[in-house]
């Protein structure tokens, strides 16, 4: 419980951040900027987990640990995605989404 700030304040911030990420996912053309939007989405979800942990179930640490795992999953996801992007760049010298229509290994 944080003095003076209700749970709704945090949740509104994270909701807006989530949908900004979705919008970026839709309007962006470049693979790396799409990855940036995905990071925004993951981050907003982690905020949600922590806020529910702190405000509603302060006797346990479940939200805390799942945010920790989200950070780990985000790191794994970013490294694999960047490896893929660099490989695509080697093949077609471009990382625009419209030009990537074949991903056969």
């Amino acid at each position: 419980m944080i003095q003076g700030i209700s749970i709704y304040h945090f949740l509104i911030v994270s909701t807006l951040m989530f949908f900004i990420g979705i919008t970026g996912f839709i309007i962006r053309q470049n693979l790396i900027t799409i990855l940036l939007s995905v990071e925004l989405i993951l981050n907003s979800v982690a905020i949600n987990f922590l806020v529910f942990n702190r405000y509603l179930f302060p006797g346990q640490l479940q939200g805390h640990f799942f945010s920790l795992f989200i950070v780990g999953v985000a790191a794994a996801e970013a490294s694999v995605a960047i490896a893929l992007i660099i490989n695509i760049y080697r093949r077609i010298h471009n990382i625009e989404v419209n030009n990537v229509n074949e991903m056969k290994f």
Binding site: I2, M17, I85, I86
Partner: protein, 170 residues
């Protein structure tokens, strides 16, 4: 207004402003740096919620690791001075519609729901002792299984990154 509230509004203002800039900036390196600001402000929110360990993890792993990785890959794959062309109009409107409709629905659901705190629970301190015990515990409140699974995931992603990024012979 106490300092708490002032900090909260400052941090959430930074988060929202720089998230919008991240998805609208037309220079890629700038978008990555704006994402860095968002992540640092988020770790500030974690400090505000009194999760110091997670805030430190966020700063070192997210802001220190992932953003540097992304910046390196930007430097490898594109010209820094290059500007994106504007997104097509129908795509832009589709994105804005998704934002408005989605956030309206989510916020309406959120604000009409009454969150009830679990009654009669004492706040437990989040220090390293508690975190270590719970993360490796197998009993009640133990998180040994997800911990093992995430270690497997990290191993798999390491192997995958090496296999994918390796240069082919010939």
């Amino acid at each position: 207004m106490t300092l708490n509230v002032v900090m909260f509004y400052l941090l959430s203002g930074v988060i929202l402003t720089f998230s919008v800039l991240t998805v609208t900036s037309r220079k890629m390196l700038r978008a990555a740096v704006y994402l860095l600001f968002v992540l640092v402000a988020t770790s500030g929110l974690y400090f505000l919620l009194k999760f110091q360990f997670l805030a430190a993890v966020q700063l070192t792993l997210y802001a220190g690791g992932i953003v540097v990785l992304i910046i390196f890959s930007i430097l490898l794959t594109s010209h820094i001075s290059e500007k994106f062309k504007k997104p097509e109009t129908w795509k832009l409107w589709m994105g804005i519609t998704a934002f408005v409709l989605g956030s309206a629905l989510a916020l309406w659901t959120l604000l009409s729901h009454n969150f009830v705190k679990e009654p009669g629970v004492k706040e437990i301190p989040v220090n390293m002792h508690v975190i270590g015990n719970q993360l490796l515990g197998v009993g009640k409140n133990g998180f040994a299984l997800p911990f093992e699974i995430i270690s497997l995931l990290l191993l798999a992603s390491m192997v995958a990154a090496i296999v994918i990024a390796k240069k082919e012979k010939n």
